[in-house]
């Protein structure tokens, strides 16, 4: 008889400490750069320092004869000029998609693009030799500004495409039959004295995901399968795409994502460096390793955001919103990333947010520029949408003289109206905006802070208080495969799982959703412990290796729990079904008389029972099992969701602004998130904290700045200013739960909520603090310099002009403006 722990208490909902921590806190880790098979050769990429140029010569003889160098190769020398990196999200059949080469051959299209590779015995020798490679460039004018790029007669990034406009994607609720025509709504509002029309332009600055572990790949070709380690979020996607890109049979590739040090969308890619490692390993027959420096990472790994948003909202003067028009310019950079154009389009369904908006239209123009390509970054499309709608709801409130929270309440979907089909045709299954908001307002002391704000304004205090609001929702759990198909995405959105009962009663769970810091191993173990009634400690979660977990679609879009977790539940249920048949046989009872609870199969109405571990052993020995079944409990499941899930929440920020210096301080942040049922509150809270930090960093600190030559001027951690502990306060976070009805666990997902919600809360708060001075907009990041300038401009005071077309002045802490190094004004 197997010893059985007390499993009557549910694991679901417990704040378990994480089982993966034991390795991570002792240094017993295996990140890709720590993997070095014997005989490893190191690859270094020679990168263009120039954004747009013709390559007129590559002189590598000195590098080739340097110590330890195996070779220097251009694309032509690798035979790789015809190889193009995959792009799996074409928006329309008319999309103009430049082929992205592994290395630029004739023309470089962004600073940081690879031109050649060096292979050497050590990483240091490879870098030394790379410095000896002389590339001659004939500079061309870079295309840096999106509006200029789409204008007639613009200089072209890729002249062969004939335009910098890659595509235009439209969703028109009127035409789709899911809502009214926004053109009619705007015309009606303009003609109606009892209506208002508010138009604003918002700018989503360019961000860098800046995961802590630089990207790295190790390709070992010495076995029958090529073993391909990569610091990736998407080992399964990488395997399939490598096969397609390089023409290697998929069955000859084994991709391993070992420990991965964060991703945030930034490792949702298939990169030139990864493909170059495979080619180099094939060429040399030796293991090849590439690890980027932080500067290379900031320069050449894909960036995020970078949109210009023209938003028009119409409303009755009583506050009822009647229409929303969204026009985006989205900077794709020099090439279309793996999912690049899909990112802004994911936002198409979220601009209407939690509100009942009768008429809606979304138009997105994807634009090619001479900058680093953009792709997924935490939230991917939804932070941009949430920012725009939450900012313009504040603007509408000002226009109407209403409290911004009251205006939101007037327009949001009341809880009794769920399920609710929105103007874009999505059905929100559950939610309770009143509950989350009421709790946030209470925790925040909204009324008290409004009073303090009034008092400070009345006194004319130097430091003014602003209250920022963001009542957000998001679509999580990417995604129903049919929906992805309708959006021309190149794959489905299902997830796979296997549950294996071992002879000794221990359990192996295989998931296609591979974690890189989120706590998958702990949360999935909790789910399986409840499903099978086995101890948490007896469960091992296996992932991130296509040999172990051959089937999966990986981790992004808050999908691991709501898609991957449900696949695990379904596989577990199949195990119990199989075990029930064997239990009935061994207990000499009819199958329908067997009950399963807390890991034990019992014959109804008797004391007779067998533990699931005993059944597993019986299945293993296979000495005595019923006719007509196979002697195994192991089960697989593939789960394809029928709907997204829709977490929501209310975030409130108390911002203090020094009106003389422009200094912004986040005094207090409260958020109440409704993420449905919670598997592990400790982990969920951690996800919220980290999400908040990234969203707040967009509002206050971060921006990838280019100069007028297309050079990234803050490509190190010295001046791409990730917040440190000293830059952030503690947050007050709480979770409320309106269970999702679209999945059996009632879960919604939490990975991106904090990032999506917090950016507009902060910016709304900053503007609320200084709106009485006449300020209506401050571009992100809302640095001291930007805020001070906005105040001066609103007050009609002149400031010395800094050429902002070449650089966003004062972005981030410690950032130095190359055009104004002394920060003079």
């Amino acid at each position: 008889m197997t010893a059985i722990a007390d499993t009557t208490a549910l694991e679901f909902g417990r704040s378990r400490t994480r089982k993966e921590d034991a390795r991570l806190i002792t240094g017993r880790t295996r990140y890709t750069d720590s993997i070095t098979p014997a005989g490893t050769i190191y690859l270094h990429v020679v990168r263009s320092p120039i954004a747009h140029a013709t390559i007129t010569g590559v002189e590598a003889s000195a590098a080739r004869s340097a110590p330890g160098v195996f070779g220097v190769y251009t694309a032509a020398e690798l035979g790789a000029t015809e190889i193009g990196l995959p792009h799996v999200w074409p928006l329309t059949p008319a999309e103009k998609a430049p082929q992205r080469p592994l290395l630029a051959s004739d023309t470089v299209h962004f600073a940081g693009e690879g031109v050649a590779i060096v292979l050497a015995r050590s990483a240091a020798e490879a870098r030394d030799a790379a410095d000896l490679v002389e590339v001659d460039y004939e500079p061309l004018d870079p295309v840096l500004d999106m509006e200029a790029a789409v204008a007639d007669g613009a200089n072209l990034v890729h002249p062969s495409l004939g335009s910098n406009i890659s595509d235009v994607w439209v969703f028109d609720a009127g035409a789709a039959g899911t809502g009214g025509s926004v053109d009619e709504a705007i015309a009606a509002a303009e003609a109606d004295p009892d209506s208002v029309v508010v138009r604003r332009r918002f700018r989503q600055q360019r961000l860098i995901p800046a995961f802590m572990e630089p990207r790295s790949a190790v390709v070992d070709p010495t076995g029958e399968q090529i073993v391909f380690y990569s610091a990736t979020q998407v080992p399964h996607v990488l395997r399939t795409m490598t096969a397609v890109t390089l023409g290697i049979p998929e069955s000859k590739l084994r991709v391993v994502a070992p420990d991965v040090g964060g991703g945030f969308g930034g490792k949702l890619s298939v990169t030139p460096e990864e493909m170059l490692c495979v080619l180099a390993a094939q060429k040399t027959g030796k293991p090849v390793k590439w690890t980027e420096t932080r500067s290379e990472s900031l320069l050449a790994a894909h960036h995020g955001r970078d949109q210009l948003q023209d938003i028009t909202i119409t409303a009755k003067k009583d506050g009822t919103v009647t229409g929303l028009d969204v026009r985006l310019l989205a900077d794709m950079g020099a090439y279309l990333e793996l999912v690049g154009p899909g990112v802004p389009v994911l936002g198409a369904f979220m601009f209407n947010a939690i509100y009942k908006i009768p008429a809606y239209k979304f138009t997105c123009t994807t634009v090619l520029t001479s900058k680093t390509p953009t792709g997924a970054y935490r939230g991917a499309g939804r932070p941009e949408a949430t920012f725009a709608i939450e900012r313009i709801m504040d603007e509408l409130a000002v226009e109407l003289g209403r409290d911004p929270l009251e205006l939101r309440k007037q327009n949001w979907i009341p809880h009794e109206e769920f399920p609710f089909t929105t103007v874009v045709g999505l059905t929100y299954d559950s939610g309770n905006y009143e509950q989350a908001t009421d709790r946030a307002v209470e925790l925040f002391d909204y009324a008290g802070l409004r009073r303090e704000q009034e008092e400070r304004r009345a006194r004319g205090d130097r430091v003014q208080l602003g209250i920022g609001i963001s009542t957000f929702t998001e679509m999580c759990g990417l995604a129903p495969s049919r929906v992805l198909g309708s959006l021309s995405y190149g794959a489905g959105g299902w997830e796979a799982a296997s549950v294996r009962m071992l002879a000794t009663g221990k359990v192996e769970v295989v998931t296609g959703s591979s974690g890189h810091g989120q706590g998958h191993e702990t949360a999935f173990s909790q789910i399986v412990a409840d499903q099978l009634g086995v101890p948490f400690e007896d469960i091992e979660i296996l992932h991130g290796d296509t040999q172990v977990s051959p089937k999966g679609l990986d981790t992004y879009g808050s999908r691991s729990l709501v898609v991957g977790g449900i696949a695990i539940v379904n596989a577990s249920k199949k195990v119990v079904e199989k075990a029930t048949k064997i239990a009935a046989h061994l207990l000499e009872a009819a199958e329908e008389d067997i009950e399963f609870a807390n890991g034990t199969f019992t014959v109804r109405g008797t004391g007779q029972g067998k533990a699931i571990q005993e059944i597993a052993y019986a299945a293993f020995t296979a000495h005595d099992y019923p006719e007509g079944i196979e002697p195994s409990l192991d089960s697989d499941a593939v789960y394809d969701p029928e709907n997204f899930s829709y977490p929501h929440g209310t975030h409130l920020a108390a911002m203090e602004v020094d009106t003389e210096t422009g200094r912004v301080q986040l005094r207090h942040y409260v958020c109440v998130d409704d993420i449905g049922n919670v598997v592990n509150p400790l982990i969920a809270e951690g996800q919220v904290h980290g999400g908040l930090a990234q969203g707040i960093a967009q509002a206050l600190f971060e921006e990838a700045n280019y100069d007028d030559q297309g050079t990234l001027v803050n490509g190190t951690f010295v001046d791409y200013t990730l917040p440190s502990a000293a830059d952030l306060p503690g947050f007050t976070t709480e979770i409320v739960s309106t269970p999702a009805t679209s999945n059996p666990l009632g879960v919604k997902g939490v990975g991106e909520a904090g990032t999506i919600a917090s950016t507009p809360a902060i910016v709304n708060g900053v503007i609320d603090a200084i709106r009485h001075l006449g300020v209506t907009e401050v571009e992100m990041p809302t640095t001291s310099q930007r805020v001070w300038r906005a105040i001066q401009a609103a007050q009609g005071r002149s400031t010395q002009e800094t050429p902002i077309d070449t650089h966003s002045p004062g972005a981030g802490l410690g950032s130095i403006d190359p055009n104004n190094p002394q920060g003079e004004v």
């Binding site: 806190i25 802590m212 932080r294 400790l682 010295v718 502990a725």
Partner: protein
């Protein structure tokens, strides 16, 4: 080449190294101490933090030869056998890590911080670990971890007994 004699995590080593070799490269590439990680190239992120003669240093800003004659402690040598250091325990209990990449450096920095200030308030913790960047946690649970460790390390504090299923979170 230059000679370096150094004790790392209690083991004596004598090696010939290139004079330009960084301590972190020596630890990772020569000694296989891959528990110590590299996150940047400008000494901003602190992922590579180790102790050099008892003081925390970013091992990317120390040459291996500068460690000649010194004693180095890395994350791999912090626990006493099975007994985790209180800071390690606290990071687990307070969910002070997610992807784990900043964690070795963060823990080594926190141990040094608590050596200097055994009972830091929240502000002092935030200032004290300012040189170590984390992209996952928003720092809140790291701050809690350091403060929890401070409580555990107070003279007379009893080590918390190992629960079969420790439930953290307040």
């Amino acid at each position: 080449m230059a000679e370096v004699r150094v004790t790392v995590d209690g083991v004596n080593y004598a090696d010939e190294v290139e004079p330009r070799m960084l301590l972190v490269q020596y630890l990772r590439e020569r000694l296989g101490k891959t528990g110590t990680l590299i996150g940047c190239d400008t000494s901003n992120c602190g992922a590579c933090t180790v102790h050099l003669n008892g003081q925390s240093v970013k091992s990317c800003s120390v040459l291996a030869v500068q460690a000649d004659g010194a004693e180095v402690l890395t994350i791999e040598g912090l626990a006493r056998g099975e007994d985790l250091h209180p800071v390690q325990k606290a990071f687990n209990e307070c969910h002070g890590l997610q992807c784990g990449y900043c964690t070795p450096g963060m823990i080594m920095a926190a141990v040094d911080l608590l050596g200097d200030n055994p009972d830091p308030d929240e502000h002092e913790v935030r200032e004290g670990i300012e040189g170590n960047l984390c992209r996952c946690t928003g720092y809140q649970n790291i701050v809690r971890s350091v403060q929890r460790a401070a409580q555990m390390m107070k003279p007379g504090a009893t080590a918390p007994t190992e629960q079969p299923a420790p439930v953290a979170g307040d």
